[in-house]
């Protein structure tokens, strides 16, 4: 392999006090197959070079060879933690392009499922962030709750993790009869656990010492790097596409946008990014409760599904608020059964690019915490 292109050692001026350390591509705390090339001065990080692509699964090439409906399972496999949320922008973009109006019931089920998946995603994010900071117990608590949410998904769609549930114009199948009661029970359980997690982890002195004032991301840097989601909101900006650019039926619900205020440290540190996720779980619970109350009982979820998905010639970029940030799909149709081009703008991909900027000057142990606070999924980084 030619390694010269990216590690260029000039032997005339070797620095003996700096060390280059290779973390990954398979390392328990890199959240998948990320490889970091870290330059250390003692224990202080002086430079980080992320090397990605170890999970490049050719999503965009596959899209050009598949029908529009056949692409949906591949979209699930992009951000495999929050698959429901991934499907949403793609199906909405195609519905806009084809001018399909979906039934009310479908919209409500989509919102409920997306918010449940957002909770499940944040539970993993908080759990693994706790693991990175050295707390193992919250992991077990949160995964217990996540399992209940997966049971609902399994009953509704038949799959635990990758659903293929949202179709263009409708859903794969209707929800089961006791769906509403099950969801409300889980919302109750999630709230209870989040209280426990706040006592156990979030306001724990050790955890605050590990995460506050670490990895500070100023707002202007965050915007310039294109950060979105909890990373942007943790830096103190109240920007949420569900509020600022409401899609689906999000304008009907009453909820707040949590953002980082620097309660225990500086605005934009790791603790802030984490607390945004914790509070978003509560807001998602609120949305789910309102949606369950308003959801119509009858209606055919498959009435608007077109026989053939063949959008007219044109292009569309549509973005929604994924748990990790702004997920956009740029779809170019040339009027055939297969898309001309599908480009996915993954939030993890863009959020990860800010890592070298915020990790410099901290200890190596802090680098792991900073990486955990960004909450990446490598399936989406590499696509």
């Amino acid at each position: 392999m030619t390694t010269k292109e990216f590690i260029d050692i000039d032997f005339s001026q070797i620095e003996s006090d700096r060390m280059r350390l290779n973390v990954g591509p398979q390392h328990p705390s890199t959240h998948g197959v990320l490889r970091l090339e870290v330059e250390l001065d003692g224990e202080v990080v002086t430079n980080v070079i992320p090397h990605i692509g170890y999970l490049h699964r050719c999503f965009e090439k596959i899209c050009e060879n598949m029908n529009y409906q056949q692409i949906i399972p591949y979209i699930d496999r992009m951000d495999y933690i929050s698959a429901m949320n991934n499907e949403l922008p793609y199906v909405i973009a195609l519905e806009k392009l084809m001018d399909i109006k979906v039934p009310e019931k479908v919209e409500y089920i989509r919102v409920i499922m997306s918010e449940l998946n957002r909770i499940a995603n944040h539970q993993i994010a908080i759990a693994t962030f706790g693991l990175d900071a050295g707390a193992f117990t919250p992991f077990l608590y949160l995964f217990r709750d996540r399992e209940y949410i997966l049971w609902i998904f399994e009953k509704a769609s038949g799959a635990r993790l990758l659903f293929n549930y949202f179709w263009v114009g409708g859903l794969a199948n209707d929800v089961y009869p006791t769906f509403k009661e099950d969801v409300l029970t889980i919302v109750h359980q999630v709230r209870k656990t989040i209280k426990e997690i706040e006592d156990l982890l979030i306001y724990n002195k050790i955890f605050i010492d590990r995460t506050a004032n670490v990895g500070i991301l100023p707002l202007d840097v965050a915007i310039s790097y294109g950060c979105s989601g909890p990373v942007l909101r943790g830096s103190g900006m109240q920007f949420d596409l569900r509020k600022n650019e409401p899609y689906s039926i999000y304008e009907r619900f009453d909820f707040e946008i949590p953002f980082g205020k620097g309660e225990v440290g500086t605005v934009g540190d790791c603790w802030d990014r984490n607390i945004v996720r914790v509070r978003e779980i509560e807001q998602s619970c609120r949305i789910i409760e309102q949606a369950i109350a308003q959801m119509p009982n009858d209606g055919d979820v498959q009435s608007a599904i077109p026989k053939k998905v063949r959008p007219p010639k044109g292009e569309i970029y549509f973005r929604t608020e994924n748990p990790k940030g702004e997920l956009g799909f740029y779809i170019i149709s040339d009027g055939k059964d297969k898309p001309h081009r599908v480009k996915a703008r993954g939030p993890s991909f863009v959020n990860l690019s800010v890592l070298p900027e915020i990790a410099k000057g901290y200890l190596f142990a802090d680098l792991i915490v900073i990486l955990g606070s960004i909450d990446i999924v490598l399936g989406e980084v590499d696509r």
């Binding site: 591509p25 398979q26 390392h27 328990p28 998948g32 197959v33 692509g53 170890y54 999970l55 490049h56 699964r57 050719c58 090439k61 596959i62 060879n65 399972p73 591949y74 496999r77 495999y80 933690i81 993993i124 992991f139 077990l140 995964f143 217990r144 996540r146 399992e147 997966l150 635990r160 993790l161 990758l162 490598l378 399936g379």
Partner: protein
């Protein structure tokens, strides 16, 4: 075959089990496997649930290891890409004998949904390292992984470990001077 099966027919009054040394060794090996977890993609998330409270993978007596030198078997969970393939090969070579490989999920079995147009996906991890247990599914349920683990334990239980060189010589794989 294994030691535990012999408990059904104990020697005379009970309390004594007659078995071979191989039985005891295999019993120990199969019930305390340490694994090198190679989490790559979606299956790794199911594997995380597996390690958490509901499914409790550690009841099989297995402990995760971060280094190949201490591992008995490797779990490939997820899509293997060409960029990653050489690294897996190298980790496999670093593991000490006897070693096993468990391939979890369609992607590492055969390329999965990426078999046709995935120009950067390795179509099956068995192209680079030998695989002992395949667990199908995309992603497999935790129960399926448990079943795979039981299969691997059975495989280890029934293995002949002594006179390996002589057996190989009979098969003509190696030649030994007597």
């Amino acid at each position: 075959m294994g030691l535990l099966d012999r408990l059904d027919k104990p020697y005379e009054t009970g309390g004594i089990v007659l078995g071979t040394l191989e039985d005891i060794l295999n019993w120990g090996r199969s019930k305390s496997d340490w694994y090198l977890h190679f989490g790559l993609a979606c299956c790794a998330i199911e594997f995380m649930s597996m390690n958490a409270s509901h499914f409790d993978f550690m009841r099989f007596g297995i402990i995760p290891r971060a280094t190949p030198r201490q591992a008995d078997f490797i779990m490939i969970t997820g899509t293997v890409t060409l960029k990653m393939a050489e690294r897996i090969q190298r980790l496999w070579e670093q593991m000490a004998e006897p070693k096993y490989c468990m391939s979890v999920g369609s992607c590492s079995n055969s390329g999965g949904p990426y078999w046709q147009y995935g120009y950067h996906v390795l179509k099956g991890v068995d192209r680079i390292i030998p695989v002992h247990v395949y667990v199908p599914g995309c992603p497999p349920r935790p129960e399926a992984m448990e079943e795979g683990m039981i299969k691997l334990q059975k495989l280890i239980d029934q293995q002949a470990i002594f006179r390996k060189r002589e057996r190989l010589a009979e098969e003509g794989k190696i030649s030994i001077d007597k």
